[in-house]
């Protein structure tokens, strides 16, 4: 057996065993449970949700809100972080304010966003944008601080304007680090988006799993739980792949 296959089979063995145990339990002693259902029924429920389209709609809503919030938070953090990173003085002077605002838990803003925007996509991506903004700000600031000073001297010698300096010198020099920051932010964005839906927003995957629980449909609930885990895993894997690819390409180019 090729070693790669062995690794995959080994990794699958325990989860499959656990699923089989759950199947046995839910068909036997836990037959009347409102909390657990056999995985086979959950798989069936997942197939049904995929067939009637509710699966794709909710997934698209969650991913779309997470992406929109990520884009807004990233753009703001990129601008402010570059400035605070390049100007040592601005960085030092804003340090206190940033450190005071950064630990505010993003979920504390859910009620505020609800008040301002009502339910819908806007409240969700505003909370996501807030959540990803602070870690991104710190990472972008660090990336800008590590831009080679000689590159900045080149920009000064060429008398580039601020926009050209940013686009032609600073941004390319920060790019590999920005991809690392982006990978971290993608994970946060998805978690926060689902959390907002579970706590308040009646849309998306988080609301779907809450609804399945409230209508005492454990099979559908487990189906959504599995699906959310799968989507999270796939999105994270994609972000990691993107980051590694970017690092390799820029390593080859530079």
């Amino acid at each position: 057996m090729p070693p790669r296959l062995t690794v995959i089979l080994k990794g699958l063995a325990v989860p499959l065993l656990l699923l089989a145990a759950l199947e046995g339990y839910a068909r036997g002693p836990g037959r009347d449970s409102d909390a657990l259902a056999p995985p086979s029924k959950a798989l069936l429920a997942l197939g049904q949700a995929a067939a009637d389209g509710s699966l794709w709609g909710a997934t698209a809503f969650t991913l779309g809100s997470a992406a929109a919030g990520l884009a807004i938070g990233f753009a703001l953090a990129l601008l402010l972080g570059t400035w605070l990173g390049l100007s040592a003085r601005a960085g030092r002077w804003s340090f206190l304010t940033v450190e005071l605002l950064r630990p505010v838990p993003s979920v504390a803003l859910i009620p505020l966003a609800m008040l301002v925007f009502g339910f819908g996509a806007r409240m969700e991506f505003s909370v996501v944008a807030f959540a990803v903004f602070w870690p991104l700000l710190v990472l972008v600031q660090a990336a800008a601080r590590q831009v080679d000073p000689r590159l900045l001297e080149v920009a000064a010698a060429l008398q580039l304007g601020p926009a050209a300096r940013f686009a032609k010198i600073v941004l390319p020099a920060m790019l590999p680090r920005l991809f690392v920051a982006l990978r971290l932010a993608v994970a946060i964005a998805l978690v926060v988006a689902v959390t907002v839906e579970i706590a308040a927003n009646p849309h998306g995957m988080g609301y779907a799993i809450m609804l399945a629980q409230q209508s005492l449909d454990p099979a559908l609930m487990l189906a959504w739980l599995f699906w959310i885990a799968l989507v999270g895993f796939a999105v994270n894997a994609l972000a990691l792949w993107l980051q590694q690819r970017a690092a390799r390409r820029m390593g080859a180019a530079g």
Binding site: R92, P105, I198
Partner: protein
């Protein structure tokens, strides 16, 4: 984390000025009605709500309840995470069997487990505690696992040569060398604990700051909402600062 120390005293005044400028901006925005008062209370009103709530003891009690929930869940998570991490990390075979599953579950949002926990535990404090502990366990577990997997090979050989029992290996070699990873994981998991505790209070209507801010928003009492957000920010700030200080103390032996 030495950034705090590096901020020299001569930067103190400008730093405070930046903070004051931000507060002034808030004052202007709320008094000038740039944003509706329904959403953005004035700083004075927020301060008044804070003072009133703290003097009446209500806010203080809610803060205490949230902090207690966060700490209980976090402690459970740390104990379970370190124990499981050490158990799995000590044997390469166990890592091969279990790590793929752990990596698959890791990106799962902790709050997504909440519906399942509600069906098992009902809408009660135990449900919230379980989800807090579950969500906060992953950073500790994976950090411990990573720390144990990267023990200096020569230390392993020494332990084997001395025929150290497994428990002694964990205590004398594994944990000390995994400590930096474990502490970093614990800090992350404290942040997760606070977030999940707040979400849990919102969903399960458990007393605490999470429920307080939700109720304030539902009845359009913006100044109380902001007071709650300020307190939650302070809790997050204090928790992070305390753990950072503890980390520095515990890792002093590492630095030459």
């Amino acid at each position: 984390m030495n950034r705090v120390n590096r901020v020299a005293w001569r930067d103190t005044v400008p730093s405070l000025l930046v903070l004051a400028a931000l507060l002034a901006l808030w004052w202007l925005a709320s008094h000038g009605q740039w944003v509706s008062r329904v959403f953005l209370p004035t700083p004075e009103a927020t301060l008044a709500s804070l003072r009133e709530g703290l003097a009446g003891g209500e806010l203080l009690q809610q803060t205490g309840q949230t902090v207690l929930r966060m700490l209980q869940g976090w402690l459970l998570a740390c104990v379970a995470g370190v124990a499981l991490g050490a158990l799995i990390g000590i044997s390469p075979a166990a890592r091969g069997w279990l790590q793929p599953m752990l990596e698959f579950v890791r990106p799962l949002p902790a709050s997504a487990v909440m519906p399942l926990a509600i069906s098992i535990f009902g809408l009660g404090p135990n449900m919230v505690l379980f989800v807090v502990a579950f969500g906060a366990m992953w950073p500790v577990l994976l950090a411990t696992l990573h720390g144990f997997a990267h023990v200096e090979p020569r230390l392993r050989e020494v332990a084997a040569a001395l025929q150290l029992p497994a428990l002694d290996f964990v205590r004398k070699v594994g944990l000390p060398s995994a400590l930096p990873d474990v502490l970093a994981g614990m800090r992350l998991s404290l942040t997760v604990s606070l977030i999940v505790a707040v979400v849990g209070e919102m969903i399960a209507s458990q007393p605490g700051l999470g429920q307080a801010v939700l109720l304030a928003a539902r009845s359009f009492r913006a100044s109380e909402l902001f007071a709650g957000i300020v307190l939650l920010g302070l809790v997050g700030f204090a928790a992070n600062a305390l753990l950072a200080a503890a980390e520095r103390r515990l890792l002093r032996w590492q630095r030459p």
